[in-house]
Amino acid sequence: MKQVEDALRKEVAKLFEEKEVDIFVGHEAASLPLKTSACFVRSSEEVDRLVWNRSCAANLAAYLPQLFKRPPGLKGAWTPPKVGVVVKGCDSRSIVGLIKEKQIPRDRLFVIGIGCEGMIDRHKVARALGTAGLAEAKIDETAVQAIGTDGTEKQIDIAEALAASCQECQHRHAVLADLALNEASASPAEVSRYANVAEFEDKSPDERFEHLVTELSRCIRCYACREACPNCYCEECFAEETTPKWLGVTTDLPDVVFFHLGRAFHQAGRCVDCGACVAACPQGIDLRLLNQKINKDVEELFGAEASLSLEEAGVLCSFRMEDDQSFMTEP
């Protein structure tokens, strides 16, 4: 990790010296344990702010569309900045998606890909500790040494503390990169994907609804999941639209369920399962339960996985005559 971090800083400094980029988006240390925040580096002197560790769960692709927006009120010609960004496998897929959806220009982008071995889920660590919050956490090669706010101390195996989406990750390397660091690291996870979905599907409809209600009743409608998601770049989100007003701004359960169903559906054929929404959720809601259902259906019904290549058309922007229609009602 340390070597990757050093190599990253060196490469970014070089990019600035060669004037390849005007701004570089990376991760920097944050005040909370097991958290990093996005950092925007603007010169080679600042590269030491950049970090690379197992807390870089945020998907930096989410910050890109706004960097390429023309400043409001500006008159005359404007050239978008040259932006550099460091990505994990999942983030690079988000970038592919954003390029395909014409939100970011490929030619103004410099992507540094890092072979990722998985990120720690701080909610999981806190749950393992049994405390409300984390006071401190140290990560070494094999374990997370965590101390809770009440002083409880516990050592948790890295493999167990990894975010669920990292445990099932199939694309650890960037699918699109101008420069790849530590190419020969982790290989795809050998676990059954969609295990959580299959388990949920086995329950009865009543149990499923109950479970969903219990999970979503914690939602405070802060929209952190939306803000963290690179796919959610809409100027006006359906959750806040007033004409038509789709749903109320309340924590009444039908409104919450509506929001989460709408959010999940808008990910159809686009979600790369980066886990940024799960990491961002202050309430630790299992958002993958819905995301992964859509991903599973997209794969089973249409044989597609989101944003693996620039050439493939989006799942809902294409069709085949022989698409499944067994669900249609016949007299």
């Binding site: 038509p244 789709w246 109320g248 009602t329």
Partner: protein, 153 residues
Amino acid sequence: MIKKTTEKKSGNGWEPRIVAFLCNWCSYAGADLAGVSRIQYPPNVRVIRVPCSGRINPLFIIKALQSGADGVLVSGCHPGDCHYISGNLYARRKFALIKNLLEYVGIEPERVHFSWVSAAEGVRFAEILEKVIDSVRALGPASRMIKQLEEVA
């Protein structure tokens, strides 16, 4: 806005309310044909005419359920017959996903129906509608998505 179902719970007088989204070129004309041909079908349906089944945003379906509909029917032209060439084929993919998603979260799959009805199929429209209404009636009033708080302007 559909009047809230909570006001009229099941019991003897309860009749299901179905919201039907019908495409302008096939299914709406099919429903019209059923009418002018004097084919009888139950009056539980509230028809909303849309330009194409491709116009159907899955949020329409969730919104209908939230606003008090007991069931939803979405109908468009048969594949290959779309007035806009392929609107219904794009729509079909969305329908498959939203139907699975609603079932997944525990909303009875019999509440949400999709069908193809052409402008010449008045009889088929009446038959499908009867089937939809029967299946929703068997389930009873919808409750899972109905808002408990009063809607404010």
